[in-house]
């Protein structure tokens, strides 16, 4: 409390300190969103940059403001976009769920190991996280394709007669999404689980609850914060994922991140890409705001100690 009050007295100094990162973020993070919104009202044009200007100052001082709602109209009317947004949300949701189902036992197991071995295990789990995301996705390309390792192995031991279609379809998409995002779920879950007081479980068992019951009535509810944190860290970026659908997704794979990329790089239709981005942000505002409020409440609890 005390340093703040003194900084209040040194108003200019305090202001300067806060303003450096503040203005950086305002300029490079916040303002761009408004520019995206603005460009989404433009039309594609053969120019550099490839979109029309919204404002035209005509002779006689008349300012013409042209808002092209065509892009949004297209998004709302064409089935394709609705399906893609939906499919992206679905994929992100599925990924989050699977990461939770797989990640929770792993995080729990590590949290309950003795501190000496816990460090080693944690290191082992986090090592893939530190390795390149792109390369890990690439690794699955070699495993999943027709001549890939999995098929070769299964053919080799005679379990199957023909190679399975494991690649460039929804299966490979989901598998690699879960693979790539798993560490993002495990780490927040672990850091919440490890802070849980083990004596609570001792108390539960003393009062007659078996291990399974104790888990569902004590551990699970108390790890709620970890679950929320991990889920948000997976869900929100997963919605807009590009690399994984591009490299291992099927031709029918509908992911909005890929659509945005195609509009921008392949069609050179910047206004359309901007419109797609705007709608994506609108969809994600709710979970992002939720995460922000959740984090603020967490920190306020901690800061008051």
């Amino acid at each position: 409390m005390n340093i703040q009050r003194l900084f209040k007295r040194l108003k200019p100094g305090r202001g300067a300190v806060i303003s450096i990162p503040y203005f950086w973020l305002l300029l490079f993070f916040l303002v761009p969103f408004f520019i995206v919104l603005k460009i989404s009202f433009a039309e594609q044009d053969l120019a550099i940059p490839p979109f029309t200007s919204l404002m035209n100052l005509e002779e006689g001082g008349l300012l013409h403001l042209t808002l092209n709602l065509g892009n949004f109209d297209f998004i709302l009317s064409d089935d394709f976009y609705a399906k893609t947004y939906l499919s992206s949300l679905q994929t992100a949701l599925f990924t989050t769920l699977m990461c939770l189902l797989l990640g929770y036992p792993i995080a729990y197991a590590i949290a309950r190991t003795d501190p000496a071995r816990r460090n080693v295990l944690l290191m082992l789990v986090m090592l893939p996280f530190w390795t390149s995301f792109l390369l890990r996705v690439y690794a699955w390309m070699g495993l999943l394709n027709e001549n890939g390792l999995i098929n070769s192995f299964l053919l080799g031991i005679g379990l199957i007669d023909e190679p399975l279609q494991l690649f460039h379809n929804d299966f490979s998409l989901y598998l690699v999404m879960v693979y790539a995002y798993l560490p993002f779920m495990i780490l927040p879950l672990f850091s919440h689980l490890v802070k849980m007081d083990g004596r609570l479980l001792e108390a539960a068992s003393d009062l007659g609850a078996g291990p399974i019951k104790a888990f569902f009535t004590i551990t699970l509810p108390l790890s709620k914060n970890g679950i929320i944190a991990g889920s948000m860290m997976v869900f929100i970026p997963a919605v807009g994922e590009f690399v994984i659908p591009e490299l291992v997704g099927g031709p029918d794979t509908l992911m909005i991140g890929k659509v945005l990329w195609n509009e921008f790089f392949d069609n050179n239709n910047w206004p359309m890409a901007a419109a797609v981005a705007t709608v994506m942000v609108l969809l994600l505002i709710v979970p992002i705001a939720f995460l922000h409020r959740f984090e603020t409440r967490q920190l306020e609890g901690k800061g008051n100690e």
Partner: protein, 374 residues
């Protein structure tokens, strides 16, 4: 307010706290505290958590600004000064030793802020280390020290700048009981040898009674009573103080006899009257309380003369403390009276100590009870 026994009444106070108020939004943490501290005093602010004593201490240190009021130290108005501009130093409850600096560097830190020449700093640091007997740990880091050792370093650091006022925030709170008793005396000796004026904050009455020259009892932001440990113990000015310091038995009732040399209270719980051998100010019929300390209650197995300041009861509980026992005696009215009886009492009278359920007689001298009007 009672002056410190050692100082003459005409001397100007060294520290003058004038009507300090601190509000946090709607809550009032400190509600108009006025207090004068004399030079070289060791003053204890005693109270339970939330009474405002820590907030008051922080305002003295400069970490909080009073909502209103004044603080004058040695003639200087320091109310609005920043902590680093005040000639006051504080010893923190958690010691707050800088973990990345050695013991010597911790002690030197404050001196470096004053831009003291290096030679002088080194000499002063050595002096402080000797004062707390930590010379050979000069190069250690805090995490390499035990709790008691850390406390000594924290003390040395807070005295290094020869502050006009030393503030101690629960100085012995982090130590275990045995170490605490030892350290209490060591600490007082050190403070007295240095001759620094101290204000300490504690919730431990034993600590306050042992270490302080004067105590101030605080509750709900207000200073209830100020006096020497003996004054506060023997002459509490209200029920809160009587119950907070030590243990006591409280009886209530109207004043039925009010003479200049005696007062009688009709105490329903006693089933009789309480006689006090001096007069009090207040009308007859006024509702008062009488506070009687357990060590002033005499317990007899044989009946005593009927009359005031006596009653019959049965032993409901015995708390054994080795050299004495506290008997919880249930009186006819149902009230439980606590009596502290040294173990020799029964040996000297060649009696068996009473046991649970035994009938006993309790009584006390007329000069023992303290009359409280609030």
């Amino acid at each position: 307010m009672v002056d410190a026994a050692k100082q003459s009444a005409s001397e100007k106070p060294y520290l003058s706290i004038a009507n300090i108020v601190k509000k946090f939004g709607d809550t009032t943490a400190v509600d108009g505290v006025t207090l004068d501290i004399q030079r070289k005093e060791i003053f204890a602010l005693l109270g339970s958590s939330g009474c405002g004593k820590s907030t008051l201490l922080r305002m003295l240190a400069g970490m909080e600004r009073p909502s209103s009021g004044q603080i004058i130290l040695d003639g200087q108005d320091i109310t609005k000064l920043a902590p680093y501009d005040r000639p006051i130093n504080m010893m923190f409850q958690s010691y707050a030793l800088f973990p990345h600096m050695s013991v010597a560097d911790n002690i030197a830190f404050g001196l470096k802020q004053d831009k003291m020449p290096k030679g002088e700093i080194d000499a002063r640091v050595a002096e402080m280390l000797d004062l707390v007997q930590m010379r050979k740990y000069a190069n250690r880091k805090p995490y390499q020290l035990s709790g008691g050792q850390q406390q000594r370093v924290a003390l040395a650091r807070s005295l290094a700048k020869r502050p006009k006022l030393l503030l101690l925030d629960e100085p012995l709170g982090a130590l275990d009981k045995k170490l605490r008793q030892q350290t209490q005396l060591e600490l007082v000796n050190t403070l007295e040898s240095v001759g620094v004026t101290c204000i300490m904050v504690t919730h431990d009455q034993e600590e306050a009674m042992t270490m302080a020259t004067r105590i101030g009892i605080m509750s709900e932001g207000q200073l209830l009573q100020v006096g020497t440990p003996a004054e506060i113990y023997d002459y509490p000015n209200c029920r809160f103080t009587a119950e907070f310091i030590g243990d006591t038995n409280l009886f209530t009732g109207p004043v039925v006899v009010d003479e200049p040399d005696r007062v009688e209270i009709e105490a329903a719980e006693l089933g009789g009257r309480i006689w006090i051998d001096h007069g009090i100010t207040g009308p007859k019929g006024m509702q008062v309380w009488a506070s009687i300390r357990p060590e002033d209650v005499r317990v007899d197995r044989d009946p005593v003369a009927a009359g005031p300041n006596a009653a019959k009861g049965s032993v409901a509980e015995i708390a054994y403390f080795g050299s004495y026992s506290v008997y919880h005696v249930k009186l006819g009215s149902g009230k439980v009276l606590k009596a502290m009886v040294p173990v020799n009492r029964w040996h000297e009278a060649n009696l068996e100590p009473p046991t649970w359920g035994d009938q006993v007689y309790v009584s006390w001298r007329a000069d023992m009870p303290v009359v409280l009007t609030r």
